[in-house]
Symmetry: D2
Subunit: 232 residues, 4 copies
C-alpha cells in the first residue's frame, strides 16, 4: 500500500458499536460491502467489533480490521486486546487511536509495533494536523485524519474543512513520504469521497455514513462513483 | 445461582490474553474444561478473549464469559465492548472490574446494568474486603474476591490469607445476602479449592493455575476432587 | 464530626477551576465565606485549587480542602497530588472521587487511607445511591451524594430528587452509622439547604451556586438562614 | 530560548512528590538551587509540587515550573490543574507528558496551547526518539527526551544510551529547528551533563539525582562544572 496506490483508493468502514452492525448484522453488512467493492473493483475493508471479527472474516474475503489493539504482548492481561488474538480470528489490520478510543502518545507507538509484530496492517487515527504528522512518525501503514467535531455530523471534512485534509497531507508527507493517508468524518456522498481524493487522500474512513444509512449499499455505490470520477 | 447453591460450586477459568488460550487453542482448552466438568458433574465456565467468544461458544455448552464489558449502550463508540455484542456472539456472562481491567466506581454500576440489560450474568471482581462489599451493593450475580498481590503467584488466597476470604464473605453477606461469592488468586490445587469452599466461597476464579499448566485437565481434575471432598 | 452533629451542619464550597476563585480571588472569596460563617456561627469550609491552598490557608481559619488527592505515597511521581503536600500547605481535608475527578474503586480506598495517614479529613463523593453506600464502606469522614446530572443545574438535588438524598441516607446508615453525609448538586438557596437537612443530610457541598453568584456572600447568607430555620 | 542558546544551558530540577522536596523543604531546596545557579551563572529552574508553587515562587527569582497542566480551560472541573492557576501562583512554565504523568496525544497538543495561552513556558517530555519528534510538532518551547527505563537509575541517558540523545536531536531538528532540547534520566554527575551537551542537548531535566542527594548543592555544583567544561 505505497504512496502511489492512487489506482486503488481504500474505503474502510468502521462498524463502531452500532447495533445495526452487531452479530449477524455485521456479517450481512460486510457481505454487502464486499459485493459493491467487487462490482466497482474498489478496495474496501470493514472494522467490526472484536466479537464479530471471526465470523465476519470467515464470510468475506475483504480485509477485516479490529477497531483497536492494546499496546501489550500476550500474558496476564484481562479484558484487553492483543494483536495476536485479532490475527488468529482472521483479522488483517487494526485501527489505532481513534478519537473514540484515544491512546497515550507512548502507547500509540507500542500499539503499532505490537500490531505489526502480529502481522496486522495499521491505520492510526489523528484528530488534528499536527497529530496526523506526529502519528505518521510512528511508521504505520496508514494515517487517518478525522476532526472529531465532524465525526457523525454528515458534514464532510473534505468539503467543510478541505484545508485540514490538504494541510495534513502536506505535513504528513514532510515526515513520512510512504504512509497511505485516509480522511474521515462526515463523509456521506460520492462527492465527499471525490473531494477527499482530490485533496491528496488515498482513501476514506467512514462509519455512520454507511452503517446508519437506510441502504448502505446505495451509499457505497455512490462512494464508488466518486472514486471513478476521480480516475477519469 | 442463589446463595445456597452449595451443591454446585462454580469454577470459572479466565483465559486472560495468554497465547496458550488464544484462537484455536481457546476452543480446544474450552472443550477439555467442559469434558472434565461433565465427568465430575461440576459446573465450569470459561472467559476467553473477545475475539474468541463466538468460536468457543459454538463449540461448547458451558457458560462463556467475556473478560470485561464497557459501561456503554450501543452507538458511536469505537474499540469498546458492548454487552449486546458479547451476547450476540454466544456469551452468557462477563467479568467486570478485574484488577487487570479496573473500572471507575461509577462505571462498575453502569457495566452491571448494561450487562444485565443484555442478558449477561455478571461476576464483579474486587481486590479488597471493603471493595468486595462495595461491589456487592451494585447487585451483580457473583462477586469475586481476588487480592492482586496473589494473582498468578501460585500461593492460594484460600490458604495464604484465609481471613481475606472469610471476612469478605461476612462483609458481603451483611450487605447482600444473595450474591454468589467466588474467590481467586493463586489457586492451583484441589486443596486450595476445598479451602475456599470451607471458608464460605461458592466457587473459584482461576487463570494461570489452569491455563499455564502443562496439563490443564489434570489441574481441573484435582479441583473437582477438592469439590468432592467438600461435599463428603 | 459524628453522626449527630446536627448542631453544626457543614457548608463546603468547592471552588473548582473557576477563574472567579483562582489566585487572589480564591483568597478573597475564602475570606468572605469565613465572615458569613462567623456571623451565623455556621461551620463553613472551602476547597480551592491546589496552587491556592497555601495562600488561602494562611489567610483564613476555616478548614481548607483539596479537591482531590492521588492514591499514592510520596516518591517518584510527577504531576500528582500527595496528601502530605496538601497538609504541608495548610490543608485540613480533601474531596475524593468527585464526579469531575472520578477514581477507580480500588483507588478510592487507597486515597482515603493516604489522606488519613497524612492527617486530612475525607469527603468521598458518590454519584448514585449505591455508590454512596459503597464509598461509605471505605470509612471516610464524610460522604457527599451528588447526582452529576444536577451539578451546576440550579435545580437542587434536595428538592428535585429528595428521594435520592433520603434513600442515600438510609443506605449509607445501613453500612456506616457514623459517617457524616453531605448532599450536593444544584443547591442555590437557603430553602435547598433546609430541604437537604430535613432529608437527613448533615451539610451541603456546593460550587457554582456560590462561586458563580454575583454576590456569593448573599447566597451564603441565605444558606445560613436555611440552617437556622432547620434548627428552630 | 532559541536553538543556539548554547551559552545558557538550562538545568531543570523536577521535585516530583519526594518528601525531601515538599512544603518548606521545597522552598529551602529551591533557594539552594538558586544560589548555585547564581554562583556559576548557570540558568536553573525548579518544578515543585502544585501546592508549593506559590511559596517557592515568592522566595526565589528562578523559573518555577508546574509538573503538569491539564488540557482544559477554566470552568467546572474539580481536582484538575488549569494553567491560569499555575500562572497566578507565580509559575512561569510547566512540564507536560512526563512519563509519570503521560497524556493522550490529543491532550498534549491541547495542554501546550492552554499553557501558552496562560503565559507558561512548556517542556514536553517524550520517552522515545519518535515520540520526541512527535511532541516537537506540537510547538512547545522545549522537548525533554527521557527513556523511562533510565529514570532514577543513576545510569545517565547521555552516557548509557548516547545514541538516543543524538538521534532524538537529529529527528527533532528535522521537524522543528527552534525547539530547545533537554535530556534526562539517570543524570547524576557533571560528566553526565557534559556528555548531554556534547550530544546536542541544550540542558538537562533531573530529579532524584539532585533531590535525593545527600548534598543537593554539591551535585548541582558538579553539574555546573560539567557545563563550564563544555564551554571551554
Amino acid at each position: 500500500m505505497g504512496r502511489n496506490d492512487f489506482s486503488e483508493p481504500f474505503l474502510l468502514i468502521n462498524f463502531k458499536t452500532y447495533l445495526e452492525a452487531t452479530g449477524k448484522r455485521a456479517v450481512e453488512l460486510s457481505r454487502r460491502i464486499e459485493q459493491v467493492g467487487e462490482s466497482f473493483n474498489v478496495r474496501v475493508g470493514v472494522a467490526p467489533q472484536f466479537c464479530d471479527i471471526a465470523s465476519v472474516a470467515s464470510h468475506v474475503q475483504i480485509p477485516v480490521f479490529a477497531q483497536h489493539v492494546d499496546p501489550i504482548v500476550p500474558g496476564a492481561h484481562t479484558g484487553q486486546i492483543i494483536a495476536e488474538s485479532v490475527r488468529a480470528a482472521g483479522g488483517s489490520g487494526t485501527l489505532i487511536n481513534h478519537s473514540e478510543r484515544p491512546l497515550l502518545l507512548v502507547d500509540i507507538e507500542k500499539s503499532v509495533e505490537c500490531a505489526r509484530a502480529a502481522g496486522l496492517s495499521t491505520v492510526v487515527c489523528a484528530a488534528t494536523i499536527s497529530a496526523a504528522a506526529a502519528v505518521a512518525l510512528t511508521g504505520p501503514d496508514m494515517v487517518a485524519i478525522e476532526p472529531p467535531e465532524l465525526i457523525g455530523s454528515g458534514r464532510a471534512v473534505s468539503k467543510e474543512r478541505p484545508e485540514v485534509v490538504s494541510d495534513s497531507v502536506r505535513k504528513i508527507r514532510s515526515v513520512n513520504p510512504d504512509v497511505k493517508i485516509l480522511c474521515g468524518a462526515g463523509i456521506t456522498t460520492g462527492e465527499d469521497v471525490y473531494a477527499a481524493l482530490k485533496l491528496g487522500a488515498q482513501g476514506v474512513l467512514v462509519a455512520s455514513g454507511v452503517v446508519k444509512a437506510q441502504k448502505p449499499e446505495d451509499v457505497l455505490l455512490d462512494f464508488c462513483k466518486g472514486i471513478r470520477k476521480y480516475h477519469l
